[in-house]
């Protein structure tokens, strides 16, 4: 098998430029379609989807906080300005100052602009999946990806609220900057500046079999590998 098929494969690879041009054409069209869908989805999100998504996020977050043991049903309240006022339980038992009173919960406000970030990953994810074009992988990827990102965003907001609450608690009990502060800063950076933008890409490539194929298993190279391995053996 290897003796007869390998030379043909070599000639085909060296002489035929079509697969490379087809591949770059597919990549170009993905980039152009993805950019178009990104702008379209962001406009739709900014002018139509933000309000219902924020409402859903607040309801989901309240349910999550109930599970996490917050004592009041109204643990998140929306102000007329759109900002959120949150009451988050904190565990203050670690602080053992004589005469100091333990704190059971922290109330703080988050600006609407900061909360909106936790609804951004979904339109970005949709634009990447739609940028690939419609095929049999599109619908399952959209469904599973949307569900996963929605759950992840609720969890990320929950972690963000906890970090903010413990950050406020740390200000009330001043201590030298150490590992806890470093971890808080790093986690906040990841939650605000990295994960909302990286998660949609990871989800799109993970859930869309066509995208996974395009990015990790170029068709011509897969064939090349299949033929090269028996030859090497």
């Amino acid at each position: 098998m290897s003796g007869s098929s390998a030379p043909r494969q070599r000639v085909g690879l060296a002489a035929d430029p079509a697969p490379t041009s087809l591949r770059s054409k597919a990549l170009n069209s993905f980039f152009l379609r993805g950019s178009f869908w990104l702008i379209a989805m962001l406009v739709l999100w900014a002018f139509g989807l933000q309000t219902p998504m924020l409402w859903l996020l607040r309801i989901s977050e309240e349910i999550t906080l109930q599970f996490a043991g917050t004592d009041s049903r109204n643990s998140i309240m929306e102000e007329p300005s759109g900002d959120w006022t949150c009451r988050i339980l904190v565990d203050d038992r670690g602080i053992e100052e004589i005469g100091a009173q333990n704190i059971s919960s922290i109330d703080f406000s988050i600006q609407k602009a900061d909360v909106i970030l936790f609804t951004f990953s979904l339109p970005f994810f949709w634009s990447i999946v739609l940028g690939k074009g419609f095929d049999r992988f599109t619908l399952p990827a959209l469904v599973w990806g949307t569900l996963s990102i929605a759950i992840a965003e609720v969890l990320l907001l929950f972690i963000f609220l906890k970090i903010t609450a413990y950050g406020a608690l740390a200000q009330l009990h001043p201590s030298p900057a150490g590992l806890a502060k470093w971890l808080r800063d790093l986690s906040t950076y990841l939650i605000v500046s990295v994960i909302p933008f990286a998660l949609p890409i990871i989800a799109a490539v993970g859930f869309h079999a066509g995208l996974k194929q395009q990015f990790f298993h170029p068709p011509r190279d897969s064939g090349f590998l299949k033929k090269s391995v028996p030859r090497a053996g």
Partner: protein, 189 residues
């Protein structure tokens, strides 16, 4: 026994041979590890100073490019200021494309390829991301002078997601390059 030896010898070659990902779980684990290590490093004091210097350098390059194209801008550290209306924009950590750079570098490091190819990918990838980032910074400088709402939208969402998409394309182009180089090496054999 011979078979075991052959497969052990062949396995890393086959993984590197065509730039095809055969073990996605390992890729995901190495990618996550590299990301966490990279972002943790960003918050160490020594790297923070280097990142600040990078931001200053990028602002200087942006100011120089604006002047080269006939525009007017003054640079003060990591701040780019318009002399005509006083509008100023500061490049903070997160606006300097370092988060996207860490993600791209992690993906390149996690992907099966030779160290030389990875080094090429890292160099080209970092340069490409930072070039796009300078374009982003200059465009935001002008958008901010035009309209604050447009600036917020472009700054917080549009450019950030576009630059992520660019990183994905750069990574894909590098994977193609690795595949082509390996295919070429195979043909020469």
């Amino acid at each position: 026994m011979k078979k075991t030896k052959l497969s052990k010898r062949r396995s890393p070659d086959a993984r590197c041979y065509s730039g095809v990902l055969t073990k996605p779980r390992i890729f995901l684990a190495v990618f996550t590890g590299c990301c966490l290590a990279g972002f943790a490093l960003l918050f160490s004091p020594a790297v923070e100073i280097a990142v600040l210097k990078l931001s200053h350098g990028l602002v200087d390059v942006s100011g120089y490019l604006i002047s080269l194209c006939g525009g007017h801008a003054m640079t003060e550290g990591s701040v780019l200021r318009s002399p005509s209306n006083g509008f100023a924009i500061e490049m903070k950590n997160g606006c300097n494309g370092i988060n996207v750079t860490v993600l791209l570098c992690s993906a390149i490091l996690a992907f099966p390829a030779s160290w030389l190819q990875k080094a090429q990918g890292l160099l080209i990838g970092v340069l490409a991301i930072q070039t796009i980032n300078v374009v982003r910074f200059i465009s935001l400088f002008y958008i901010g002078q035009y309209n604050q709402t447009c600036f917020d939208f472009a700054h917080n969402y549009l450019w950030e997601s576009l630059i992520m998409l660019d990183a994905l394309i750069i990574f894909r182009l590098w994977v193609s390059m690795v595949s082509r180089q390996r295919a070429g090496a195979y043909v020469r054999q």
